[in-house]
C-alpha cells in the first residue's frame, strides 16, 4: 500500500515536470525557428519532452512490477 502511494506520487511529480517544461515560460526558450541537425528546435523540444515524460512514466510504473 505504502509503495503504491509512492508510485502515484512519483507520477504526479512527472505530471508537474511536464507542466513546467511545456506550459511555463520555459517553453518560450525553445519557441524559435532555429534548426538543429536540419530539424526545427521547437519540434525537437516538444517531441523530446513528450518522449521524456513517457519514458519516465514507464520506468516508474514498470519498475514497480518487478
Amino acid at each position: 500500500m505504502r509503495h503504491s502511494i509512492l508510485i502515484r506520487q512519483r507520477l504526479v511529480g512527472i505530471f508537474l515536470l511536464g507542466l513546467v517544461l511545456l506550459y511555463s515560460p520555459a517553453l518560450t526558450l525553445f519557441d524559435s525557428a532555429a534548426e538543429w541537425g536540419g530539424i526545427p528546435v521547437s519540434y525537437l523540444y516538444l517531441f523530446g519532452v513528450w518522449l521524456l515524460i513517457i519514458v519516465l512514466a514507464a520506468l516508474t510504473v514498470e519498475a514497480d512490477r518487478r
Binding site: R8, F15, G18, D31, W50, I53, A58, V61
Partner: protein, 923 residues
C-alpha cells in the same frame, strides 16, 4: 486503378475481419479465457481517442497552424500521469457502484439523481452526435476521393459533390448492426463488451500502422528524411515551427491542452473504454505510459505529411485534410492509398461503435428508463423486462446513428460539421467540474452540479454552437457580428468584450467560469442532504481503504422475494438467480429465500439493478418494493464511521493476530530447541554416568579382590593395581574433559594466544604418540612443507586437537598394516592439517553427528575406547581460533579429519625451526 467494387470489397473484408475478431473475443470471454484482460489491450483500446478527425484532421491543422494540433495530444499525455490516482479512483467507484456511463457517474455522485443523469445524457448526445456525423462524413469522403484515384485534384473537388451520400447511410446502417451485435446482444450486469474492446484494440493497431506507412512514404520515399523535407518546406515558405505564432498565442496553447486533457476523460467513449470496460485496476499502470506513447507515434509524421502535401500540391486546390489519402494517390501508390483509406475507416468505425454504445447506455438508463418508471408509477409490470431493455438499447443505437447520418446529410460541408471536433470537446468538458471536484470535495450538491452543468452548457451553446450555426448560414450572422439585439457586449464570441483569443479558448474560459462558479455557488447554499452526503463519502473516500467500503445505508422493511422478483424482471430469470446465488454463498446462506432482507441485501439488489438500468432508476425501483425509513444525516455518518472504524479495527486485529502468530511460532521453535537441549542434557548425563560407571566398576572390583584376599600373588596384585591406576587415569581424564567442555561451552575457558608453527606442533604430536603407533603396528606417514606455517593459537589446546585426531586414527586403523597419513599444507590465507587412516571409515548416517558429544564412531566391531568428547572439544577449539574442522569419509576407505586455521601473517618469528623431513616414520 481502384475500382469502386474493389474498394467496397476491401472495406467489407476489413469489417468482416473486425467482426471475426470481436466474435472470437466474445467466445473466449464466454469460456473464461479473456483476450482483453491484458494491460496492453487496455492501453490500445484507449486509443479510440484518435478518430478520423485525428487521422485526417491533424494533418489539416498542422498545415494551417504548424504545431497547433499538438496540445490535443499533449493534454492527454500529461493527464495520463495522474491516472494512477484520478482514473483509479473513478474506476474503483464505478466498479463498487456498478456505474456504466458518465451520466450514471455524475447522477450517482449527487445522490443518484435522475434529473442530473438525464441532463448529462442530453448534453452528451447534443455534443457528440455531430461528432459521429463527422466520422460518417470522413468515411464517405475518403471513399469518394479514393474512387477518383489517381486524379488527386479531381478528388479534392469530388469530396464536395454530394453524389455518394448513400455510402454514408449504408455505413451508418452497417455500423448500427455491428454495434448492436457486440454492444447490445445481451444484457450484462457490468456492461462490459469484450468482443467490442478486442475489435477496438485491433483498429488502433491498424490506424497506427496505416498512418505510419503514409508518414514513412512522405518522409523517406518522397524526400530524404526529416531534415531534407524541412529544408525544402522552409524554402517553399510552408514551414511554420513557431509555437505561439502557429497556435495563436500561448493562451490558446494552454487552453487547448486543458480542453484535451478534460475531454480524454469526459468523452462518453473514453469513459466507456477506460472505466466501464476496464477489467483490472492493474491495467491502468500500463496505460499511463503506453497510451501517450501511442499518441506520440501517431503524431510523429503529422507535420511531415502536412509539409510533403503542401510541397506536392503547391498552388493546387487540394484540402490539407485529405493529404493522408491524396498524397499517396498523387504519386500513383494505389496500395498505399488503399491502406490509408482502411486506416481512416478503422479510426472512424472505432469511434462510432464505442461512442454509440456509450450513448445508447446513457439514453436507455438515464432518459428512457426514468420515463417508463414514471409511467408504471409504483410497480413495473410483471413481465420479463430484460428483453424490453435490450430493445431500448438497440433502438437507441439505431436512432443515434441515424441522427448522425441525418446531421451529416443536412450539414454537408457546413462549418458546423467540419469544425465539430473541438466544439464537441468543449461540450463534454462541461462534465469536468461536477465529476472531478465531486471526486475530491464532499460539499458538492445536486443543485450545484445541476446549476454548473446548465450554466456551462448554456455558455457552450451560446458561444460555440450558435455561432457555428451562423457560420453555416443557418442563422443570421448579424447575431454574431453585432450581438443579439445589437448589444455588442453580448457578442457570442467576444462575450463581455473579451477578445484576443480564439473561439475555443473563449468558450472554455467563459463556460468554465460559469460552470465552476454556479457549481460552487449553489453547492455552498446549503449543506448536502443525506443522499448527497452518503454518496460523497463513498466517492471521496474511495481510495482511503484497500478494499472498497461496502455498507448498506438503509433502514426499513423489505421482502427478499420482492427484491429478487425485481431483479428477475430486469435482468432475466437466470442471471438474477445466478447473481443472488453467488451473493447468498458469500453470506453463507443456503437458499436465496433465506437471505435476510437487511441493509446489505438491499444495497446488493440496488447495485445489481444499477448495472442494468442505471443507479438513479435502480434507486427508484428498489424504493418501490421496500418501505424505507429515512435516515438522518448523523445516522448516515455514524454508519459510515462505524464501517470504516470496523474496517480499521479489523485490519488492526488482523495485524495483531499476525504478530501473535509469528510470536507464538517463535516461541514454539524456542520451546522445541529447549526440549532438544534438555534431551541432549539428559543424554549427556546418562552418557557421563555410564562412562563414569565402567571404570568405577572395574576399580571397585579389583580393589575388593585385593581387600578381601590378602593372599593374592604379587604378580597378580601388580596387574590388578595397574588396572586400577589406568582406570583411575581414564576416570580423571573423563572428568577433566567434561569440565573442559563445560568451560569452553560456557565461555569461561582461559585461552592463550601465541604464534605457533603448525609443522613443529604436528611433529611433536607425532613423536608423543609414537609409542602408541608402535604398539598397534600402525605406520605413520607425514607430509609437511618446508616453510613454517604460523598460526595464532593456544599451543596446548591445539596440541590437544592434534593428539586427539592422531589417537582416533590409530584407534581405528587396522592392527598391523594400518596406515595413518598426516598432511600439512599452507595456502595463502590458511593452514590445513589432515589426518587420514585406512580404517573402516564412518558410516554415512553417522557422519553428521560425529562432532557431537558421546557420538563415537560405530565403525569398529569392538567398542572403541575413548570418552566420546574428544571430537566435540576439538571442534570447539578449532572454531574458537576462527578455523573449521570436518570429516571426509567413505565406508571401507578410511576416514580423513581435516582442520583449517587462518594463517598468521608475520615475519617477526625466527625462522630457525626444525622441520621434520618427509618420509615414513614406521613404528
Amino acid at each position: 486503378m481502384l475500382s469502386t467494387t474493389l474498394i467496397i470489397v476491401y472495406s467489407l473484408l476489413y469489417l468482416a475481419l473486425l467482426f471475426a475478431i470481436a466474435y472470437w473475443a466474445d467466445r473466449r470471454a464466454d469460456q473464461q479465457r479473456s483476450v482483453i484482460s491484458r494491460p496492453t489491450v487496455y492501453a490500445l483500446s484507449l486509443a479510440v481517442y484518435c478518430t478520423a478527425w485525428t487521422y485526417y484532421g491533424s494533418v489539416g491543422r498542422a498545415a494551417a497552424t504548424g504545431v497547433g494540433f499538438l496540445p490535443i495530444y499533449l493534454g492527454p499525455t500529461l493527464i495520463a500521469a495522474l491516472w494512477g490516482t484520478l482514473l483509479l479512483k473513478i474506476v474503483r467507484v464505478s466498479k463498487v457502484q456498478r456505474i456504466t456511463s458518465i451520466a450514471d457517474f455524475i447522477a450517482s455522485r449527487y445522490g443518484k439523481s435522475q434529473l442530473l443523469g438525464g441532463i448529462v445524457t442530453v448534453i452528451a448526445v447534443l455534443g457528440v452526435v455531430p461528432y459521429i456525423a463527422l466520422q460518417l462524413k470522413a468515411i464517405s469522403s475518403s471513399f469518394t476521393i479514393l474512387q477518383s484515384h489517381p486524379d488527386a485534384d479531381l478528388a479534392a473537388t469530388a469530396g464536395r459533390i454530394p453524389m455518394l451520400q448513400d455510402t454514408a447511410l449504408y455505413v451508418a446502417l452497417l455500423l448500427a448492426a455491428f454495434t448492436i451485435l457486440f454492444g447490445a446482444r445481451h444484457l450484462d450486469a457490468s456492461e462490459r463488451h469484450e468482443g467490442m474492446v478486442a475489435a477496438i484494440a485491433f483498429e488502433s493497431i491498424v490506424k497506427l500502422v496505416a498512418f505510419l506507412a503514409v508518414g514513412i512514404f512522405a518522409t523517406f520515399y518522397l524526400h530524404d528524411g526529416f531534415a531534407d523535407l524541412f529544408d525544402k518546406a522552409e524554402r517553399a515558405g510552408v514551414l511554420n515551427p513557431m509555437i505561439a505564432e502557429g497556435t495563436g498565442g500561448y493562451g490558446n496553447w494552454y487552453a487547448l491542452t486543458i480542453l484535451a486533457a478534460l475531454a480524454v476523460m469526459m468523452l462518453p467513449r473514453q469513459f466507456q473504454v477506460s472505466v466501464v470496460e476496464n477489467s483490472s485496476e492493474g491495467h491502468l499502470h500500463r496505460a499511463v505510459w503506453m497510451f501517450p506513447l501511442y499518441l506520440l507515434l501517431i503524431n510523429i509524421f503529422v507535420i511531415p505529411i502536412a509539409l510533403a502535401g503542401q510541397l506536392t500540391f503547391e498552388g493546387r486546390n487540394v484540402d490539407a485534410d485529405t493529404f493522408v489519402l491524396t498524397l499517396p494517390m498523387a504519386h500513383g501508390q494505389g496500395g498505399l492509398s488503399l491502406l490509408a483509406f482502411i486506416g481512416g475507416l478503422s479510426a472512424a468505425t472505432g469511434m462510432v461503435i464505442v461512442e454509440t454504445i456509450a450513448l445508447s447506455t446513457m439514453v436507455c438508463n438515464d432518459l428512457v428508463m426514468p420515463g417508463l418508471l414514471r409511467r408504471w408509477k409504483r410497480m413495473p409490470p410483471e413481465a420479463d423486462l430484460s428483453q424490453l431493455l435490450l430493445k431500448i438499447r438497440r433502438g437507441a443505437i439505431v436512432v443515434i446513428l441515424l441522427l448522425g447520418y441525418l446531421y451529416f446529410h443536412f450539414a454537408g460541408e457546413a462549418y458546423a460539421l467540419v469544425s465539430i471536433g473541438l466544439i464537441s470537446f468543449s461540450a463534454v468538458a462541461q462534465f469536468a467540474p461536477a465529476m472531478l471536484i465531486g471526486l475530491y470535495w464532499r460539499g458538492g450538491t445536486r443543485a450545484g452540479a445541476l446549476a454548473g452543468l446548465l450554466a456551462g452548457f448554456g455558455i457552450w451553446v451560446y458561444t460555440l454552437l450558435l455561432p457555428s450555426f451562423a457560420k453555416s448560414g443557418w442563422l443570421s450572422s448579424g447575431f454574431v457580428q453585432q450581438g443579439p439585439f445589437g448589444i455588442e457586449l453580448l457578442r457570442p464570441q467576444e462575450l463581455f468584450g473579451l477578445t484576443g483569443m480564439n473561439e475555443i479558448t473563449h468558450c472554455l474560459f467563459w463556460s468554465m467560469v460559469f460552470n465552476v462558479g454556479a457549481y460552487l455557488f449553489f453547492s455552498l447554499m446549503r449543506t448536502p442532504n443525506v443522499h448527497e452526503a452518503t454518496q460523497a463519502t463513498l466517492f471521496v473516500d474511495a481510495l482511503r481503504h484497500e478494499r472498497p467500503l461496502e455498507v448498506g445505508l438503509w433502514r426499513g422493511q423489505a421482502d427478499i422475494r420482492e427484491l429478487f422478483g425485481l431483479a428477475e424482471r430486469f435482468l432475466g430469470k437466470e442471471r438474477a438467480r445466478n447473481a443472488f446465488r453467488r451473493y447468498a454463498d458469500g453470506r453463507q446462506v443456503a437458499d436465496i429465500e433465506d437471505l435476510p432482507a437487511d441493509a446489505e441485501t438491499v444495497r446488493f439488489a440496488e447495485t445489481l439493478l444499477a448495472g442494468a438500468i442505471g443507479s438513479a432508476s435502480a434507486r427508484v425501483m428498489v424504493a418501490s418494493v421496500t418501505a424505507e425509513e429515512p435516515l438522518g444525516l448523523d445516522e448516515v455518518f455514524d454508519i459510515l464511521d462505524e464501517a470504516s472504524q470496523i474496517r480499521a479495527y479489523s485490519q488492526e486485529l488482523e495485524e495483531k493476530s499476525l504478530e501473535l502468530e509469528a510470536a507464538s511460532r517463535e516461541l514454539r521453535q524456542a520451546n522445541e530447541q529447549l526440549k532438544e537441549i534438555d534431551r541432549l542434557k539428559d543424554d549427556f548425563m546418562s552418557s557421563v554416568t555410564h562412562e563414569l560407571r565402567t571404570p568405577l566398576a572395574s576399580i571397585r572390583a579389583f580393589s575388593e579382590i585385593l581387600y578381601d584376599d590378602p593372599e593374592v600373588e604379587l604378580e597378580q596384585r601388580r596387574r590388578f593395581l595397574g588396572i586400577v591406576v589406568s582406570e583411575t587415569e581414564r576416570l580423571s581424564r573423563l572428568v577433566n574433559q567434561v569440565l573442559d567442555l563445560a568451560k569452553i561451552e560456557s565461555g569461561h575457558a582461559d585461552w592463550l594466544s601465541e604464534h605457533v608453527d603448525l609443522a613443529q606442533l604436528v611433529s611433536e604430536a607425532i613423536e608423543a604418540t609414537e609409542q602408541l603407533f608402535k604398539e598397534r603396528g600402525v605406520q605413520v606417514v607425514r607430509e609437511l612443507p618446508d616453510r613454517p606455517c604460523v598460526v595464532n593459537v593456544d599451543r596446548d589446546r591445539l596440541m590437544q586437537v592434534v593428539l586427539n585426531l592422531l589417537s582416533n586414527a590409530v584407534k581405528f586403523a587396522p592392527r598391523d598394516g594400518g596406515l595413518v597419513q598426516v598432511h600439512l599444507s599452507a595456502g595463502s590465507e590458511s593452514c590445513r592439517v589432515s589426518v587420514a587412516d585406512n580404517g573402516p571409515g564412518i558410516a554415512e548416517q553417522d557422519q553428521p553427528y560425529i562432532f557431537e558429544r558421546f557420538r563415537q564412531g560405530s565403525g569398529g566391531t569392538e567398542k572403541p575406547v575413548g570418552t566420546g568428547l574428544g571430537l566435540p572439544i576439538s571442534r570447539r577449539i578449532v572454531e574458537h581460533f576462527g578455523g573449521r574442522i570436518w570429516l571426509d569419509s567413505n565406508p571401507d576407505k578410511g576416514a580423513t579429519f581435516t582442520f583449517e586455521l587462518p594463517m598468521k601473517h608475520s615475519s617477526d618469528r625466527p625462522a630457525g625451526n626444525e622441520h621434520a623431513q618427509e618420509g615414513p616414520d614406521s613404528g
